[in-house]
């Protein structure tokens, strides 16, 4: 739903001063504010031009784009936020719906403890300030998949505020350098999901399935610190990894567990922010980047041609690769926010404020949750760099591919080979084969044990590096043979027998006398003619 216009304009005015920079999308001077200390000191990368139009004209100003994201993550829990019906991806229509979810009269919301814990964990992982008291509100609008006519959310006082998300953008000559960037998090709030509508245009009706209605959502609102599709995509990917590491959300965009809406505007650096549009229906990270870049360019083109940008909601059409206006949305929405009368304030405690003799089931201790936070992706990457001596870029690749880290660690467990060797084989050879055939790690024909065995043979100099590559190719054919079997079948073992080796050399020299003469003359490359 489009946010009320008031909110954006207020934000825009506040951040005009932070947007004064003439740099490129990937080479920005530190914005004013607390993040500057972290980014300062990093050398800037090769200059990349700001967005320019196709036909550069004289005296043309450069454009800067401003992107703000609103991310909804479905909380991974057994039951819904305010009712005891089940949370499951696919089930017969309306079978996971309680009386409260269907908003039958006389039903009341009862808050799910797990959802609150998930919100606190996520807030802590994103360096937020956790509000010890937060409030629930009703946001009213009419739509068939919102049976109550309002959504319970946290507009006045959300559970977590003022955090930050650090992500790494690939830059440099070969996209191999990783530059850390930070986007501020405005707030994290708990809210209800709506049901699903299936539009039947043929019979001019909409079919409503309320299975999803009432499922707990974490809305993460990012400040408009992003400036292009790639930054947005990388930031969302990092958030996905964090949520998955915490276990608070499976964050699978394809299954609708992670939804992103983007607010995009363009302006000339130094001038006030432009009118923004909201882009919805972004259901993969790739489309997110594409849609944002398209919309930025569309706005630039429109303004360059003397047109104006309407404050509207647009939908991304991935087949056409463009955004289109959504007719259904009205310009201004008045959500008539009011406090949720059926829910008292949500009070959280820490070690110092925990009331003595309180029922542990009824209190949530922020400090306790902080202690039990699992390892975050950034820490995992640091650990990989320290433990295995790999480059930071490698650790990013390992974490970015689903299942790759586990694969790598399993290989490390079973092999004697050096970590650098394993890293190289996993990231170059193994990943290369996967990408070529568009396979996921889980679909790999080569198991960690097989690769470990292969690397052991390489390590013990049983086979040469070239032979190892051959064996790997054979393994990929999924014929069920172990590396040992392949090596003996194809006789790829490095010869150790000195006598046999000498004989081989002699016979070769006899067969190629010209080559021998050239070699003696001092042309070592003549040996290549021998096969």
């Amino acid at each position: 739903m489009a946010a009320p216009m008031l909110r954006w304009v207020g934000r825009g005015r506040r951040w005009t001063f932070a947007r004064v920079d003439g740099g490129s999308c990937h080479r920005r001077e530190a914005p004013t504010g607390s993040t500057s200390n972290r980014i300062r000191g990093r050398s800037s990368v090769a200059q990349q031009p700001l967005y320019t139009t196709q036909k550069p004209r004289k005296g043309e100003h450069k454009w800067a784009a401003v992107v703000g994201l609103e991310i909804h993550a479905q909380i991974s829990s057994n039951s819904k936020l305010f009712s005891g019906s089940q949370v499951r991806f696919s089930a017969p229509p309306n079978s996971l719906v309680s009386f409260f979810d269907a908003s039958l009269p006389g039903t009341l919301p009862v808050l799910n403890r797990r959802c609150v814990e998930a919100a606190v964990m996520t807030g802590l992982a994103l360096n937020c300030h956790i509000n010890k008291k937060s409030l629930f509100d009703r946001k009213h609008y009419f739509y068939a998949d919102l049976p109550a006519g309002y959504q319970i959310t946290q507009q006045r006082l959300p559970i977590a505020v003022n955090g930050s998300l650090t992500y790494g953008v690939c830059a440099g000559k070969k996209q191999s350098q990783v530059i850390p960037k930070t986007v501020r998090i405005k707030q994290i709030q708990l809210e209800q999901d709506s049901g699903k509508s299936l539009h039947d245009d043929l019979r001019s009706q909409t079919l409503i399935d309320l299975n999803r209605a009432g499922v707990g959502l974490l809305e993460v609102v990012l400040e408009p610190d992003l400036s292009c599709g790639e930054e947005a995509a990388t930031a969302v990917r990092e958030l996905q990894l964090i949520l998955q590491a915490l276990g608070t959300s499976q964050a699978n965009m394809a299954e609708g567990q992670l939804r992103v809406d983007a607010n995009i505007s363009v302006h000339h650096p130094g001038e006030p922010l432009g009118v923004r549009t909201e882009v919805k229906n972004l259901n993969s990270i790739r489309f997110l980047a594409k849609a944002i870049d398209y919309e930025i360019q569309r706005q630039i083109n429109e303004l360059e041609n003397g047109g104006e940008i309407l404050n509207e909601t647009r939908s991304f059409h991935y087949q056409l690769g463009c955004t289109m206006s959504m007719r259904d949305k009205e310009g201004k929405q008045d959500y008539r926010f009011m406090p949720e009368p059926n829910l008292p304030p949500l009070v959280l405690y820490d070690a110092t404020s925990l009331p003595a003799g309180a029922d542990p089931q009824q209190v949530i201790n922020i400090d306790q949750i902080r202690e039990t936070l699992p390892e975050l992706p950034s820490v995992t990457r640091e650990r990989l760099v320290q433990q295995y001596g790999m480059l930071l870029e490698h650790s990013f690749t390992l974490l970015n591919e689903v299942g790759l880290l586990e694969f790598f660690q399993n290989v490390m467990k079973e092999t004697r080979a050096e970590p650098k060797k394993v890293t190289s084989w996993v990231l170059n050879t193994f990943l290369g084969y996967l990408k070529q055939q568009n396979l996921a790690v889980s679909e790999s024909p080569v198991t960690p044990s097989a690769l470990a065995e292969l690397l052991d043979m390489l390590d013990s100099r049983t086979i040469s590096s070239a032979a190892a590559k051959q064996v790997f190719e054979e393994l990929w054919k999924r014929e069920g043979k172990t590396p040992g079997q392949i090596v003996s079948e194809k006789q790829l073992e490095l010869m150790e027998d000195r006598g046999a080796l000498e004989q081989l050399c002699h016979s070769m020299m006899e067969a190629h006398p010209q080559v021998v003469m050239d070699l003696k003359k001092g042309n070592p490359r003549a040996i290549r003619r021998v096969r």
């Binding site: 039951s79 909409t206 399935d209």
Partner: protein, 136 residues
């Protein structure tokens, strides 16, 4: 009367909270304009179909206005009447659901276990087509 209005104007941003969009009545005279009626009808899908209904609304607002007689200077606003209560936290167990048949009985039209609704939102044009509201 005027001092009360000025005080009302000051009260709105009090507390430093993100404000709700409020509809403070600037005239204080109790009359509701046709514009406000139209806006309310659109938002709440109610039908102020007659003069009587609007008059009743104006009386209701005047009745509630008597709250302003209370001096609340320096008093922290309440969030809700439940603000002193403890918010009960439920364990994350599945205890409800699986009553599709019962729920679907409430619906006028059903297609294969889905509720049936008209497509999208009813467009505004249709609302305007209704008899123009006679506001005196």
């Amino acid at each position: 009367m005027w001092s009360r209005l000025v005080w009302l104007g000051l009260r709105a941003p009090l507390g430093g909270r993100q404000g709700f969009t409020s509809k403070a009545d600037p005239q204080g005279s109790g009359r509701i304009t046709a514009q406000v009626i139209e806006h309310l009808e659109r938002l709440a899908l109610v039908d102020f179909g007659s003069c009587e209904a609007v008059a009743r609304l104006e009386k209701a607002i005047a009745f509630a206005d008597r709250l302003r007689a209370v001096d609340t200077d320096g008093v922290e606003p309440m969030e809700s009447v439940l603000e002193d209560r403890c918010l009960y936290l439920r364990s994350d167990n599945v205890v409800e659901g699986n009553c599709a048949d019962e729920l679907l009985q409430n619906s006028h039209r059903v297609v294969e276990e889905y509720f049936v609704a008209p497509p999208g939102n009813i467009s505004l044009a249709k609302l305007d087509e209704q008899e123009p509201f006679p506001h005196s």
